[in-house]
């Protein structure tokens, strides 16, 4: 009889140990999954924090790039710069073009061809206002020239303003 009791006790103990091990394995597995989730959560929190930090700058920078569909607004900004500096500005061509960012990556630009006429000071002032305008603007070329002995200068110039669009991969 005591042998029977001992056998039962042994079986129960072994059974309990196996059961506990299985539960522990399941717990460890769940814990791992949970830790992965926590890592994801921390990453997301960091990203959100970064977004908050950059938010004002990001908005300001984004406004300096041409919004698709609002190209006219940007042309008008350039025309107004001409008026403000006193030059006669004639926008002669507006095209969409591409520029290389790095290998196999391009970005879209609004390319404006125009002619500015005015005094030396006005032309120089217009050029300066283009350079310092809060726009993702690049002066591609210009050709300041005076044909006469008077003070009138003529300046055909080409500028580009980058579009706020995803990068174009030329794979």
């Amino acid at each position: 009889m005591s042998g029977g009791v001992f056998l039962i006790a042994f079986v129960v103990l072994v059974g309990l140990i196996i059961y506990i091990e299985r539960v522990a394995d399941r717990v460890a597995e769940k814990q791992q999954v949970f830790n992965d989730y926590l890592q994801q959560e921390n990453y997301l929190t960091e990203l959100k924090e970064l977004m908050r930090t950059l938010d004002s700058g990001r908005t300001r920078i984004a406004h300096q790039f041409v919004e698709t569909g609002a190209e006219v607004d940007y042309i008008e900004v350039i025309e107004n710069l001409g008026k403000d500096t006193g030059v006669e500005l004639d926008v002669r061509s507006v095209t969409r073009d591409e520029r290389t960012l790095e290998k196999k990556k391009k970005y879209a630009v609004l390319r404006l061809g125009m002619v500015a006429e005015g005094s030396w000071q006005e032309i120089l002032s217009f050029l300066g206002s283009l350079e310092t305008a809060p726009l993702a603007l690049s002066i591609e070329s210009f050709d300041m020239e005076t044909h006469t002995e008077d003070t009138l200068w003529s300046m055909p110039l080409i500028i580009t303003i980058a579009f706020d669009e995803p990068i174009i991969s030329s794979e």
Binding site: M1, S2, V5, F6, I8, A9, V12, L13, L16, I17, Y19, I20, V23, A24, R26, V27, K30, Q31, F34, Y37, L38, Q40, E41, Y43, L44, L47, K48, L50, M51, L54, R58, I61, A62, Q64, F65, R99, T100, L101, E102, Y107, L124, L127, G128, E131, T132, A136, L137, S138, I139, E140, S141, F142, D143, M144, E145, T146, A162, D164, P166, I167
Partner: protein, 185 residues
């Protein structure tokens, strides 16, 4: 052996006593077994509680997993911002008007400019071209040297043909400006 000398009554009493003690030992063993079982069940119960807790937290995390799309959107926005900054950096250039001002500052009164061209096409080298007329060869050479001395240009080219005439020399200077990085070095 001594058991054989006992009377039947004594034998019965002894056997009865033996059975009673055996039952007591069995009950004790079973009690120990149950107590051990309970003790072993406590960590199991704790583990099960942890498991339940994790399951509850995991269900809360489901909301985070729903935020995966939000994460992707955030990453995309930040990547786009990074691209805009790269474009901005690429477009950074020495302001041409600043260079023109320096060209004028260095220019002696014996030289008259009639044309200044600038080209920053990505397929070509950035360059200025200055066209004008110099009263004398010395004035033109002095002007060229003064431009070289500014440190703003990596190349200042005065084609030799420009020195053909002795007076009222028409000239074309080609200047390659240094990049902002080169100037800051």
């Amino acid at each position: 052996m001594l058991f054989g000398f006992l009377s039947t009554n004594q034998k019965d009493a002894l056997q009865h006593e033996y059975h009673v003690r055996l039952i007591i030992v069995c009950i004790g063993a079973l009690t120990i077994l149950f107590v051990s079982g309970v003790v072993l069940l406590i960590p199991t119960l704790k583990l099960l509680n942890s498991l339940e807790h994790i399951a509850v937290r995991s269900s809360e995390v489901e909301d985070i997993s729903l935020g995966i799309s939000e994460r992707e959107t955030t990453e995309e926005t930040l990547n786009h911002f990074s691209v805009l900054m790269n474009i901005y950096k690429q477009q950074e250039q020495m302001h041409p008007s600043t260079t023109i001002v320096r060209l004028i500052e260095q220019m002696p009164s014996t030289i008259q400019l009639s044309r200044i061209s600038f080209s920053d096409d990505e397929s070509k080298v950035t360059r200025f071209s200055v066209v004008g007329k110099a009263n004398t060869r010395d004035a033109l050479i002095t002007y060229t040297d003064a431009l070289r001395a500014t440190g703003l240009f990596s190349e200042v080219t005065l084609p030799i043909e420009n020195l053909a005439k002795e007076k009222a020399l028409p000239f074309t200077l080609v200047l390659v400006p240094k990049t902002l990085h080169e100037i800051n070095e």
